[in-house]
Symmetry: C2
Subunit: 453 residues, 2 copies
């Protein structure tokens, strides 16, 4: 440890923290009372929007996600606010037309968001390119993301190459994103050191604590030159969430990387969220232990629970070991996609089908067919030709950016919601979630009318 | 990371793991079925005895601690078995005569224990000297321990000096013991590197996860040259227990420090203890979050809960901040003892008394008086003279090793238990726990007689 270089922290408590621990259920009312204290800490940024929260607001909480953004923005006077944007999937689970993406980003910047973290499940940079362009055009900070995964094609060069591609596309910073908790200290050190030395760009690291390695990985990332670490407040940290802010602050104290953050102030915030968390006990994951299945099988914990449920329904729980063994096989056939939404579901359900039918790829889900057609983008490696033939026969996969084939979607959404929309943002909500947003917005209108009578 | 040097792991699950997480309640029957698998892993050692387990066996579990040792030894054919010995306190909470210590060690070695970790709460090496001598004489491995704490007198030189003193006394290895979870990565690196370079001795590191720093601390210890890390199986790790074995194994995999341990085998053991843990749910601490009070106040989590209970009883919970502020003051007056059993109780109860009475040291507990008399050993720094005068007046403190003043205790214990003892070890149990052991042994005899009729 030679030079002095303060490490910065992004607080994920109000987005990924509760998305990971409390099934994305935290309500805006529980964020506002603590905003002033959080602002005093001096975080690099506060993550408060995007990922699954947009959907969850309307689907489960009867909250307007746009209102959340506005209200939180009002309460955070100076902090940078950050969100997670799923590239061309925006905040949904499929590819949307460019007009939806563009309008989403414009409205989001208008409502006060500062930093967009943009990722694609396949690390297909074409699926991030428009998002980066629109964010830059709006004058906001575009953070390009490389999703971390382990495979024969995801070697050091892959991370260097993809980081360089994103820099070429104009991103303001890079994020290495380890949603599964499988990034070990040494590869993190190598990748981040490589990015810092070769690209000279600001680098942020995002890990989940799932396997219990993340704080060690952060420490080596710090030594490699990382600029920002994603952490959650202690009482909303660990398990499937991020490393704890306070533990990182204490670990780096009096080193050249000292964050300078105030542990006493942080402990007040921790106390606050400890109480908040009790309101969501029904969604809270009970286990305190690291989920080391992720290390043994390199399969995210959530996928394994899905398998168990699925196999129980079929009265075939004894087949779990075969299904777990089938996952890496399917993943290889599919060109080694990272196991993150939506590819984890695509790979997982096919692996289960293969084992249950005893016949590989005889039946494939629609998502798997679309994956083979190239509708999710370019897989990291070429798919297995034989598998593709079994799944889509002689159909020719597309080779362009998937969204190039999608017609503009806003006009239809505008038409759909003309009777109950209140603001332009509502159109974006409807375009993104046509099954969920209309009902939510109609109910909202009904309630207002009832109140006025 | 240059040279290749495998790091070894000691498994603490069956001693410190359940002592920390399950109030020391794990029964022998839950250790035996997994012994064979644990043995296959290839740990440096398995910690299975000592600390609070001896007392707990008789007090809560109606188990003979000696029988536990014998039975566990039978089930572990090749593994080294380790225990925690509280120096002259043996496995109790006060100083015992040398004859008790000697007989305890002799019987323990006879029953198959391999490695004795020997510590003293004040790091007074005189309180460890006889234990080291007896362990060496029995041909077992004597590990000298330095308890980690933070104070103006506990600087780098202190750790080097105390390590050297222990080496001089003939220990086979050194342990740096961080019971409070306050050892940050950088000081761990410095101390362990210092010991390795200056003393060239085998070094083991023991941390608790309480503040969430321990895995990071372990990682830097590895880089500094540590030989053995204390870890618990994932399902009995983190919180107030040790770092998780699997997380450390995965973090070091494919590095020059690769442990070589098998993650699949470990995951079977983890599954086993996951189930075992459910049997002790009533003793299980519910919080999964790092306890960062330990970082803010450098006061172990357990002390703070004690304060809260104590102050509630006095209807004075509003005085908690003053009590927390009084602790460092008292600790300074007392010559900076590490806050570990029994000094944490001594300092803590006096701090609470001082605040409640509004008059520092007007009343002192018996333990505090004995502390000032030197009956616990030599404090790390001279005590505050004024404080001592208030507490014991003109009484002259002793300057010798406290146990030098204690008459042999075995004869009385032998006499006491002559009617119900079954083996020589019972005398040691009675000498150590005269309030608990006799009842336990009498009940045992009654039951046996009832069974024979
Ligand atoms: Co995340
Ligand atoms: Co311990």
């Amino acid at each position: 440890m030679g030079e002095t270089r303060r490490v910065k922290i992004m607080d994920t408590t109000m987005r990924d923290g509760h998305q990971s621990l409390l099934a994305t259920r935290m309500r805006t009312e529980h964020m506002l009372p603590i905003a002033e204290k959080v602002e005093q800490v001096g975080f690099h940024a506060v993550e408060i929007w995007g990922g699954a929260t947009f959907d969850s607001c309307m689907r489960f909480l009867n909250e307007d996600p746009w209102e959340r953004l506005r209200t939180v923005r009002r309460h955070f006077k100076n902090s940078k606010l950050q969100m997670l944007l799923r590239g061309q999937n925006v905040v949904g689970y499929k590819h949307y037309a460019d007009d939806v993406l563009e309008e989403f980003i414009k409205r989001t910047v208008d409502n006060g968001l500062d930093i967009f973290r943009i990722f694609d499940a396949l690390n297909d940079t074409r699926n991030m390119e428009k998002a980066i362009e629109f964010v830059k055009r709006e004058g906001a900070h575009a953070q390009g993301t490389v999703v971390y995964t382990i495979s024969p094609v995801h070697d050091y060069d892959f991370y260097m190459r993809t980081g360089a591609e994103l820099k070429e596309m104009g991103v303001d910073s890079l994020c290495l994103k380890d949603m599964a908790g499988i990034l070990a200290p040494q590869p993190a050190y190598d990748i981040i050191k490589g990015w810092k030395e070769k690209l000279g760009i600001m680098v942020q690291l995002h890990c989940h604590y799932t396997s219990g390695m993340a704080s060690m990985t952060y420490l080596k990332a710090v030594e490699a030159g990382v600029d920002v670490l994603d952490c959650a407040i202690s009482t909303m940290a660990l398990q499937s969430s991020q490393p704890s802010i306070e533990s990182m602050v204490a670990a780096l104290k009096d080193t050249p990387y000292d964050t300078g953050l105030d542990l006493e102030l942080l402990s007040e915030i921790a106390e606050y969220f400890k109480e908040v968390r009790t309101h969501y006990a029904e969604f809270d994951n009970a286990s305190c232990s690291p989920d080391t299945n992720v290390l043994t099988y390199q399969i995210p914990g959530g996928m394994i629970s899905n398998f168990i449920n699925q196999l129980k329904e079929q009265n075939a729980l004894d087949k779990l070991p075969q299904v777990l063994a089938e996952v890496p096989r399917v993943r290889e056939d599919f060109g080694y996609p990272p196991l993150v939404t939506p590819s984890s579901q695509i790979v997982g359900s096919q692996a289960a089908l293969n084992v249950l039918l005893g016949d590989r790829y005889r039946i494939a889900t629609d998502e798997v067919k679309n994956y083979m057609r190239g509708y999710y983008g370019r897989p990291p490696a070429p798919v297995n030709e034989e598998a593709r033939k079994k799944i889509i026969g002689d159909e020719e996969p597309i080779t362009c950016r998937p969204a190039d084939l999608i017609e503009p979607e806003l006009p239809k959404a505008r038409e759909e919601c003309k009777d109950y929309m209140e603001k332009e943002e509502d159109i974006v909500s409807v375009a993104l979630f046509p099954q969920v947003a209309p009902n939510f917005l109609k109910e909202r209108k009904k309630k207002k009318e009832a109140n006025q009578q």
